[in-house]
Amino acid sequence: MFLDGNEQRLFGTFPSVSCVQARQVAATTTGPSSPDEFASSPIGNTYSSPATRTRRRRRSTTPLPYNTPPTNQSRFATSESTPTTTPHRTRHHVSTPSSDGGPPPSSDAGDDIDEATPTFVWGTNISVQDVKAAIQMFLKHFRDGQSQGSEIYEEGKYMKGIHKVLEMEGEWLDVDARDVFDYDVELYGKMVRYPLEVLAIFDIVLMDIVSLIQPLFEKHVQVRIFNLKSSTTMRSLNPSDIEKMVSLKGMIIRCSSIIPEIREAVFKCTVCGYFSDPVVVDRGRIGEPTSCLKQECLAKNSMSLVHNRCRFADKQIVRLQETPDEIPDGGTPHTVSLLMHDKLVDAGKPGDRIEVTGIFRAMSVRVGPTQRTVKSLFKTYVDCLHIKKTDTIEEDFQFDEAKIQQLKELSKQPDIYDRLTRSLAPNIWELDDVKRGLLCQLFGGNALKLVSGASFRGDINILLVGDPGTSKSQLLQYIHKLSPRGIYTSGRGSSAVGLTAYVSKDPETGETVLESGALVLSDRGICCVDEFDKMSENARSMLHEVMEQQTVSIAKAGIIASLNARTSVLACANPIGSRYNPRLSVIDNIHLPPTLLSRFDLIYLILDKADEQTDRHLAKHIVSLHFENPESTLHDVLDIATLTAYVSYARNHIHPQLSDEAAEELTRGYVEMRRRGNFPGSSKKVITATPRQMESLIRLSEALARIRFSELVEKHDVTEAFRLLEVAMQQSATDHSTGTIDMDLITTGVSASERMRRENLASAARNLITEKMQLEGPSMRLPELLDELKKQSSFAEVHLHDLKNAVAELASEGFVVLRGDSVRRV
């Protein structure tokens, strides 16, 4: 942000001049207005009316150039801000004891400073010496909380920082405003209220320290403040914030091109070739010498600008817009202009979400360049000190103490689980277990990464299958609204690349760029996919990787990348033939490949039962919706904002661990679930649970602990997790011919009993063929075979289709040859 070169030179060699300039800068920048301001404003006017001084608190840096401590020239420079020689000349008249800036860093200006008399920042009761001392203390002695105590001899955080800056030849030192607050509340308050003055002192102190450590350090180091205690919303900026330090959040919507701002101009005489001394900018203007300064020449109007010997600084104007969540109902987003200098230029691109710390300032609007009249309008902008990108959603959610306390209170309530369940989509009645599952999905489990590199996802995937009109889509919409980074897509309109990522060519540069799709965009969020069954085969296959590995791999057009997609998938599907057929398995009903289906932790069937109770509930609900105030019908539920905050806090701050008791319960429960598949006295083995279910159970119990803000997963969490899983499995994985849970239905699409039946058929067919046909003998037609088979009592119900499958199996063993309809033994 600082300009190298000349200014440092100035600072180094003529420190007092630099101070003067800086003060002058501060003076002019507050009101870079009418050109005659300087002539008319200074000194006399303010001194003549001392009574008004107290009232001009915030105008502290105005007409009188000498009452503020020096700041760096470039820091708040607008186009108009520049040092002049005028103040230099008048300097001695003004800087009398009553108001003088901080002591200049070098002795040559020391004569007019009286250290004993307290110096005040203009119009305030802030003593420059006090502030200086406070800053010195802070920079030298501030230590982080951790390092405090044991290592007293270690250097403070910022001394370390300064050393680092010197090593790196950096140009600024980032100072966390919260550190300032922790160390010295008073200093923090002064800094926020009078940033121009206090920051200038900050810079001086910093340079003092720098020159002590490394006297020959060439560059000028500046302080950049960030992370203020409280951030303002763009909407609440008002005239009382002018000249104060503010912190704003928003999204960059437009960046101007980089504006080279001339700082020093060099002129050359076209007659004799004499180069003038650098002329500095004076209130946005360069005074072109009217005649050559060389005594021998003195040609009139001969000087012309030499561009490549002038010095320029970068400047950029950026527009920041409110983030959507700050916009009230029926409003449009507000915007504010940011002024960026030097290093901050191009620090953000349009579309970036940033948090900016800066000084809110106003500038008058002049009617015309030559006119002195000023419109009564002021333009406001924020002079940036620091910008921070806040692209991760977690940082968007800042919790203050009160809010955290409130959330914690809430979490202590014994019925919090039920209450949250009720608050989730309160307008959708019943479906309580589905809502509980969705709640678990919102909170999520812990992702685990082992040292070996293996990782276990913490995200819970849920599939809702059900009849039309059972408010599946509404549930989806609701979750989408609630989840921090929800993306809502419809399976019908989604392509594989749209979901994952695609490579496109930038029309301007011709470069290939990687564009993220829905799943990548919803990293750490929930991706809601409506009409999952309508999704193309191709798109669905992309989901395999995402749902288990949580990454998206791309290899095309020279780009090989693996993108994180740590997203939970919430999908809903309609059964084939619009109504769910309870006689068929889930897989047959929705036609999803079992490989994909098994990746869902919970699969819920939402069926429309012809139940009068439900109907009455529906009727009541709709009547009340129409004739009462819909809000009043819902009580004891959390509003969306609280719910979102609750979820977000839990996701970021609570990381529950399994307790021993819970682990034991998990093992016991799992073994029991597996055991249920072994029927006594039966050889058939039904898989009632797989390791995948075990993982699901862990995730669910972790999520349940999170709901309570508990760092420990307890036994009842595990019990509830089992219950949730069982409810979901009962609906989706029940083998209707036997009435037991059969995971094979999900994992392979064929239940164990069905498989048993097929095996029996195949062996019967084999026996039959061995009996009826000779090796290499004449072939037999399938219907004939079927008729033979039907003679056996146990296969009276066999279809030709089934038989064909059985024979095909035999053919694959090389036992028979199946050609069309005819079977031949080989």
Binding site: G31, S33, S34, E37, S40, S41, T52, R56, R59, S79, R235, N238, P239, I253, R254, S256, I259, G284, Q316, I317, R319, Q321, P324, I327, P328, D329, G330, P333, T335, S337, V365, V367, G368, P369, T373, V374, K375, S376, L377, F378, K379, N427, G469, Q474, Q477, D608, A610, E612, D615, R616, L618, A619, K620, H621, I622, V623, L625, H626, F627, P630
Partner: protein
């Protein structure tokens, strides 16, 4: 109220100034007026409402702008189309020893010495307002009084011309596109002769303003943000100003302001967009657009009479299709009265099916005229593939000029849209077209429009009545009621006397704004009916029930009653039965 009589109309700023002087005399510290009024607004309120002088304030529109003097009190009726943020201005400053104010002004009277402590910075909001989209010609406020206002300095000839204007307005009952209108003789003359306007206008502005849609930049003082929302329809009363120096403005852009060149004055030069410093604003309802002051009390017999007559008229317009006319009446009365989650309660969009191109040409135009005559804001949109592929339905933010570019669907609350799908032919929708159909679907289903803010979208609530004319059931705009249209005659087109139309407009406005409840025993009956219906037919869902209840509410409201009675509930079921029969 005792006080000096100010000339509020011709010199409102005088009143502002003298109240300020008085207030500062007693308070002495202008900082106590930060973001507050010092009594000037009360004075105006007293003048305008208590003394009922509002009608004397001239209305600012394309016709009147040529002769209204700057710095006088004017009225502007319009919809808030965009919000341009806040603006800081020198609210009060010290001139010598006396405090002066710049409130309700653009430029300070005497140059303020800048940075002076004798200055208070105040804040005002900028709203960009446009005439309500689709405003019917009858709802345009004629400003008879305004003529008198300017009489003293107005020549005979101008008066004559004004009368012609009114005639033009009267003749334009038909939908006329803006272009045609511009070529009407009076508009043309308007464009030609503003130069020799004489003493009445000290500034000649807008040779190039579209006469039909004069926008206005309204500056709002000291009112809470929540009071004025996007797309609200307001009447602003305030001081009209122009900046005089503007032609030179372009030159003066130094690089700093170039970067910030969303500057209002650059994009909305005041020779195109007048400024109105709003003193008093009030939200307009359907009533305010009626020309004659309506009877305040909705007398039962008046309501019933109007209902009968209107239903008869609708039936004859619809070729004696009584059932369709019934649904049409309910449709015209509907509005969104509550929202729960994603459900907009109270909307009743109507899809008249079985309308071929030929039938549409007969009935479509008639319907359009009838609706235009009845409702204040209406639009008819013939849907074609080309239209869907090219039109900007959703408003879009243009960051280059920092303005919200209006889309077709940026509409005021209570607007009526007719979508004519009969001219839709097979074709391919491109990405714009798909996006547009998605928007239309969302509007029909949820009554929400997504505004495009480029980096993200923002949903805005809407309350728009949608009537769809199509051959089969419309897939683009899923309506609440699918009604096969069965005319038995070609429909009459008798002219309706103006006072009858006025009565009908009054009827619609009144009935729409009535509250409505349900008695608890009636609620039981309704609930039981719903349960029985669902037991009998599993395919009935919450949407169907919602529709019935909305119809019940509207039917009883159409009779001027505020609670649902059994009789009206039976009517709902009967109407539904007739409709279902037709669908089979």
């Amino acid at each position: 109220m005792v006080g000096p009589m100010y000339d509020f109309l011709a010199n409102p700023l005088g009143a502002v100034r003298s109240t300020f002087d008085k207030a500062i005399g007693s308070e002495s510290d202008p900082s106590s007026f930060d973001g507050k009024d010092w009594g000037a607004v009360d004075l105006f309120r007293h003048f305008l409402f208590d003394q009922a002088r509002l009608s004397q304030v001239p209305i600012l529109n394309g016709a009147t702008i040529n002769w209204i003097k700057p710095n006088t009190l004017v009225r502007f009726r319009g919809m808030i189309q965009d919000m341009l943020g806040n603006e800081l201005y020198v609210g009060a400053y010290k001139d010598g020893s006396a405090w002066r104010t710049n409130k309700f002004m653009d430029i300070s009277q005497c140059p303020v010495e800048f940075n002076s402590p004798d200055m208070r910075l105040w804040e005002r909001r900028l709203l960009y307002c446009v005439p309500v989209p689709g405003l019917s010609s009858w709802a345009e406020s004629t400003s008879d009084v305004a003529v008198n206002m300017c009489m003293d300095s107005t020549s005979e000839q101008r008066d004559k011309r004004r009368r012609m204007d009114i005639e033009v307005v009267d003749h334009n009952d038909f939908p006329v596109s803006g272009d045609e209108f511009e070529f009407s003789p009076s508009a043309k003359r308007m464009k030609e002769d503003p130069k020799n306007e004489g003493p009445c206008s000290s500034h000649v502005i807008l040779p190039d303003v579209d006469r039909d849609s004069l926008p206005c930049l309204v500056k709002i003082y000291d009112s809470p943000e929540s009071e004025l929302k996007l797309n609200d329809v307001f009447e602003f009363v305030g001081v009209l100003t122009f900046d005089s120096e503007l032609p030179s403005e372009k030159v003066d852009q130094d690089e700093f302001s170039n970067g910030l060149c969303d500057d209002v004055s650059v994009n909305l030069p005041s020779n195109k967009v007048p400024r109105l410093h709003c003193v008093i604003h009030r939200k307009l309802t359907g009533y305010d657009f009626l020309q004659n002051s309506p009877p305040t009390e909705p007398k039962p017999h008046l309501v019933k009479e109007a209902r009968e007559a209107l239903l008869r008229h609708l039936t004859s317009i619809l070729g004696n299709d009584g059932v369709a006319a019934h649904f049409m009446l309910l449709h015209l009365l509907s509005r969104v009265h509550a929202r729960a989650d994603n459900v907009a309660v109270g909307k009743l969009s109507l899809n008249l099916t079985c309308i071929s191109k030929e039938i549409a040409s007969v009935f479509g135009t008639k319907l359009n005229i009838v609706i235009k005559n009845l409702l204040p804001f209406t639009k008819c949109i013939p849907l074609t593939v080309e239209y869907l592929n090219t039109v900007f339905l959703a408003p879009k933010k243009d960051y280059q000029i920092n303005r919200l570019i209006p889309g077709v669907l940026q509409l005021a609350e209570g607007s009526h849209l007719i979508f004519d799908e009969t001219c839709l032919e097979t074709g391919t929708l491109d990405s714009v077209g798909i996006e547009n159909t998605r928007l239309l679907k969302a509007l029909a289903e949820l009554q929400k429009v997504e505004y495009d803010f480029q980096y993200y979208k923002m949903e805005m609530m809407a309350d728009v009545q949608i009537l769809v004319l199509s051959e089969g059931k419309s897939n683009i705009l899923p309506a609440d009621i699918i009604m096969p249209f069965q005319p038995s005659s070609s429909g009459s087109s008798d002219a309706v006397p103006a006072e009858v139309l006025e009565a009908w407009r009054w009827y619609l406005a009144t009935v729409r704004s009535m509250p409505h409840t349900i008695e608890s025993d009636m609620q039981k009956v309704v609930e039981n009916d719903l349960v029985t219906a669902r037991q009998a037919d599993r395919s009935l869902g919450s949407q169907d029930f919602s529709r019935w209840l909305t119809m019940g509410r509207l039917i009883s409201a159409s009779f001027g009653e505020t609670s649902l009675s059994l009789e009206h509930w039976q009517m709902v079921k009967e109407l539904e039965r007739l409709r279902i029969d037709r669908l089979k």
